[in-house]
Symmetry: C2
Subunit: 216 residues, 2 copies
């Protein structure tokens, strides 16, 4: 029985890694679509979000099934409950990638943000992609140093997010209202993507070390 | 054992109702603070968010404890897992109320949005408050008609949310970039608040009827 359970936990872990990989691909495609105004890539991200949602739903069913059949306690129970929460966060990360892609599609063939903000959004995109890749590795290896790195990357994203507002609210901003709206939403989507990654990283860190970093 | 378990499920339900009531109070205070530029009320909402977070965390611990001790299966298991998810959504609703309050505090003594948008935000606020109150009643009574009403209210909120963009992107918009940013964020916070309520309503509806409306 115990061996079956360990096998099932590995199955849960593998599925989480798989969903995180889908999310990493989506954010890479979404930020490329956004920065390079690639409408085909944007369509791919939007279509792929259904796959992420379906994979998350299947994982949830598996986790609930394990709870019902194996009746885990203590640390094993925490792992399965955490898997449900991680699945929910990954699903939201997929939604953020989709929102970024939708902005790119909506503004095509124009770029979403004016020249003065493109460097900032290029950095935001690069960091989101890095965070997503680190998350895949963190779920695979449970190496808590990656959780620390994700938190540090998130600090850099928060600073870039604030710098978008500084730019938009500064005297040199010449953007129309539509540019202001899009920059505001796009910046928030990039920032929320990273927040969800931090939330997952904390859960993995907790499972690996027993030290709980509470919800903020 | 069974009776103890039923008692514990009632305890879970009561705590969910309690957290939903805190959220209803917060969104009422937040939207009043926002619409009337009441900085004291905004501070109250910001301080109260810690209470909501703490109550949600306590409920999660109770639910995990019940899973470990009672090892529920079938519908009972679904109820406890749903409680964990509802708790997470309520926690996010509290965050949205806090974000709305933070905008009010930040712009005080000015109002957050210019005159041309105040009617729309007043309606958004009223609908969010109504939704929050209906959610408390839905959790209390499991009357699925309330779940339907919440979905309908959410449709009205989505329409108002879109009308904010129509206004901001229209030719008559005279707002500065800061007005555009704030209107964009405020509208999104109001809309996300309602989305989380719909997500909770679907879970309660599923538990009451067995019909699952999947994540969107």
């Amino acid at each position: 029985m115990r061996e079956v359970f360990q096998q099932e936990l590995r199955e849960v872990q593998e599925r989480l890694i798989e969903i995180a990989s889908l999310v990493a691909t989506s954010i890479e495609n979404a930020t490329t679509a956004f920065n390079e105004s690639n409408v085909g890539l944007a369509e791919t991200v939007i279509a792929d979000d259904d796959k992420i949602d379906a994979a998350a739903l299947e994982l949830d069913e598996l986790a609930i099934n394990i709870l019902a059949r194996q009746q885990p306690v203590a640390r094993d129970l925490r792992i399965v409950v955490s898997a449900l929460r991680i699945s929910a966060s990954l699903e939201r990360m997929g939604d953020m990638a989709e929102h970024i892609a939708q902005l790119a599609r909506y503004r095509f063939p124009d770029k979403v943000v004016p020249k003065s903000l493109r460097g900032t959004f290029s950095k935001l995109g690069t960091l989101d992609v890095e965070i997503a890749r680190k998350l895949v590795e963190l779920l695979r290896t449970e190496d808590v140093r990656l959780a620390e790195e994700i938190r540090n990357d998130d600090d850099r994203i928060d600073a870039l997010h604030l710098s978008v507002f500084d730019k938009v609210l500064g005297e040199t901003w010449k953007g129309a209202a539509v540019d202001t709206v899009d920059a505001t939403l796009a910046s928030r989507y990039h920032e929320r993507f990273a927040d969800h990654a931090v939330s997952i990283a904390k859960k993995v860190q907790y499972l690996a070390t027993g030290e709980w970093a509470a919800a903020e």
